[in-house]
């Protein structure tokens, strides 16, 4: 029987209110940690500032997605109605001046492409979906989706130290501090 090899993921500390975890996050930020995160059942207002995170750049991708949708719709309509297969229906001519009749589909595809870009870009930025994460090895962690708040400092952080980080989290008021490991 061999002992399974384990890799340390990081230290997990539990907090019971948004206020506690908010002030703890400010101190972790000021201590200069970089690989860490706050886990909460709902988005905590102002947490981005407390963690020192910049605003998400997601909107730029969504704008690009919308522009691609608009272009796709215009080309789809113009090429099929005017270039490839010009048809005069209901006395409406087949030329660029009928562009007003193309607007509804252009609008709809802009929204459609932008919405799907928002969904998929968001998932990529959140590094989801994934089937497993070391944090799920912690039994305590499942309370993050109920009423507890967690702060996890990861071992890959250059400032991480097995003793000091644990003491630091305890000093911030974190409860049930545990070392989260993952089987290799």
């Amino acid at each position: 029987m061999s002992t399974p090899l384990k890799r340390v993921h990081g230290y997990l500390a539990e907090f019971s209110s948004t206020k506690d975890v908010y002030h703890a996050a400010e101190q972790v930020r000021d201590a200069g940690y970089s690989s860490w995160d706050v886990h909460s059942p709902f988005p905590v207002h102002g947490m981005d500032d407390a963690m020192g995170l910049p605003r998400s750049i997601l909107p730029r991708f969504v704008l690009i997605g919308g522009i691609i949708g608009l272009t796709t719709a215009f080309l789809l309509e113009y090429l099929t109605q005017v270039v490839i297969y010009p048809t005069v229906v209901q006395a409406k001519p087949a030329n660029i001046y009928t562009i007003a009749a193309f607007f509804p589909v252009m609008f709809e595809l802009t929204i459609l492409f932008a919405a799907f870009t928002a969904l998929f870009t968001c998932l990529i930025m959140m590094k989801l979906p994934r089937l497993h994460h070391p944090l799920f090895n912690s039994r305590n962690f499942s309370k993050f989706s109920d009423d507890k708040f967690f702060l996890c400092i990861e071992a890959r952080d250059p400032k991480f130290s097995p003793e000091k980080t644990k003491a630091f989290l305890a000093g911030l008021g974190g409860a049930n501090i545990e070392l989260v490991e993952d089987e290799l």
Binding site: K19, P43, M47, A50, L53, R55, P59, P104, L109, F144
Partner: protein
């Protein structure tokens, strides 16, 4: 709510006591905790369903079978088994399509427009309303798909290259409709799913290992609630709301173009887009209340879906119902004022001498007169009155579409071509069947998914604000919310979530 508590306190900090401040009604009553919210909402999914659930779903499944039979009979025999004829080429099929699409408007309106306008009360309603939207659009989509006649050719609607080298006519409002409805459906599903992810994670974390945990875990996508996730999530959610806002207004606008861009008198009016959109919101909110008033009672959600919600929604019904009433009257006025003989004649047959006059007055009563009772607060607070009025509105909005479509076509410009339209049994049972389909999907939604957005509700609790100070709420100008005896308890642990607190299911 949190802001209300702050605004009323900062000026008095340390100062003398001032006159009582009118506080905004809390969104969640009785100072419920985070875990109370989790337990109550997840309990609906985790506990056995009440008997009433089975009493409703069994007939609904039977109706779905009837609907499937009607569709099979239609496809196997031909569209002649429906009643449309010449000149009434659009009968109950298109009426039902517009009716269901209209119902599907409240969901995205609540989730998108009320989100952008920071109406925090939406959090208790949006999940169920979005689910209802998706199910209603599914019901709506069935009708045009079968109305095309040869359903196996329905793929001709999609702009894909085919061997005939024929392309769709992009100048046709009917094709705009294909794009509008399919975009609306897709974006609504994306919006709904993104909102569900954190709540699916909650359900996953409460399950014992097994198939349920795997299923919820798969759809929760490995959600960990990290702020490095939330910060993108919130932006994505806001952007989807911003994209859905014009979308929801565009869908019924495009549906109304099907009528407004034709040259049929009675349809060819510029008032149609705003009139249809207002009507859709009106009918959609009525359907949300029709579904949610029983749900809040049966599942004991009175603290989350409060009377304040009912009050707000009935006010929206009153407003949009009055806009619809204005549109009805304006149509009549313009029919006279325009001096167009055909327009005047269309309305003369519609409201006075036509075969469907009764439908017009039923519509007018249900949509314009009945909601006027909501001017009185007593009426808005009486749930029986609210339910009755919502039923009138549900029926009235169907009458509206029937009146617009069928009465106009039955009396077109050439008296020699006039004919009556009567639905056949196939159409009647198909329509009843879609109600079974809709209710079945909604009941399955109640059974398997959280009916209220758990994460969003927690986010509007006062203690969700990191700057919330409970000591300050003990000031003399705060009246604490009443506590129900025997109902204020915290369930022991998530893994041992017991049945609903006593009295919840029977309340």
């Amino acid at each position: 709510m949190a802001e209300a508590a702050h605004d009323s306190h900062h000026p008095h900090a340390g100062g003398p006591s001032h006159a009582k401040v009118l506080l905004r009604e809390p969104l969640v009553l009785n100072n419920r905790s985070y875990s109370w919210v989790t337990n109550r909402i997840c309990g609906i999914v985790e506990n056995p369903q009440p008997k009433g659930w089975w009493f409703i779903i069994v007939p609904c499944v039977a109706l779905v079978a009837v609907m499937a039979f009607c569709f099979t009979y239609l496809v196997a025999t031909g569209v002649g088994v429906w009643g449309p004829n010449h000149p009434v080429a659009w009968g109950w099929d298109i009426t039902n399509f517009v009716f269901w699409i209209g119902i599907g408007h409240a969901g995205t309106l609540i989730s998108a427009i009320l989100y952008l306008t920071r109406q925090k009360w939406r959090t208790a309603v949006n999940r169920a309303a979005e689910a209802m939207t998706i199910f209603a659009v599914m019901c709506a989509g069935l009708f045009p798909a079968l109305h095309v006649g040869r359903v196996w050719m329905a793929w001709f609607l999609a702009p894909v290259p085919n061997s005939n080298a024929i392309w769709q006519n992009f100048k046709s409002p009917l094709l705009w409709d294909v794009f509008a409805v399919s975009t609306y459906f897709s974006v609504s599903v994306v919006f709904w799913f993104l909102g569900l992810v954190p709540d699916l994670a909650t359900l996953r974390d409460r399950c014992k290992p097994g198939i349920r945990k795997m299923a919820y875990g798969l759809f929760a996508l490995g959600w960990r609630g990290g702020n490095r996730q939330w910060r993108h999530y919130e932006i994505a959610y806001g952007l989807l709301a911003a994209l859905s806002t014009p979308l929801v207004l565009s869908v019924h606008t495009v549906v109304s173009f099907d009528f407004a861009t034709s040259v049929v008198p009675g349809w060819h009016t510029t008032i149609f887009p705003p009139y249809f959109v207002a009507g859709a919101i009106f009918g959609g909110f009525a359907m949300v209340l029709t579904l949610m008033i029983p749900v809040r009672k049966i599942y004991g959600l009175q603290d989350l879906f409060t009377m304040k919600h009912v009050d707000n929604m009935t006010k929206i019904i009153l407003l949009t119902g009055t806009i619809v009433g204005y549109a009805y009257l304006m149509e009549l006025f313009i029919a006279w004022y325009s001096g167009s003989l055909y327009e005047f004649d269309a309305f003369k047959w519609r409201i006075l001498f036509g075969p469907y006059t009764l439908y017009y007055f039923a519509m007018f009563f249900c949509n314009v007169i009945a909601p006027q009772v909501f001017w009185w607060k007593k009426m808005r607070e009486n749930l029986i009155v609210v339910m009755i009025v919502c039923m009138f509105v549900n029926a009235g909005m169907w009458f509206e579409r029937f009146v617009i479509i069928c009465t106009t076509l039955a009396r077109d410009s050439l008296p020699g071509a006039w004919d009556m339209y009567h639905p056949t049994w196939v159409e009647i049972w198909t329509f009843i069947g879609t109600f079974g389909f809709f209710m079945m999907l909604f009941l399955l939604f109640l059974r398997f998914l959280p009916v209220i957005a758990i994460a969003e509700i927690k986010g509007v609790l006062p203690e969700a604000d990191p700057h919330y100070d409970p000591s300050k709420t003990k000031g003399d100008n705060i009246v604490p919310a009443p506590v129900y005896e025997g109902d204020r308890h915290e369930a022991p642990t998530p893994s041992a979530a017991g049945p609903l607190p006593s009295g919840a299911a029977t309340a």
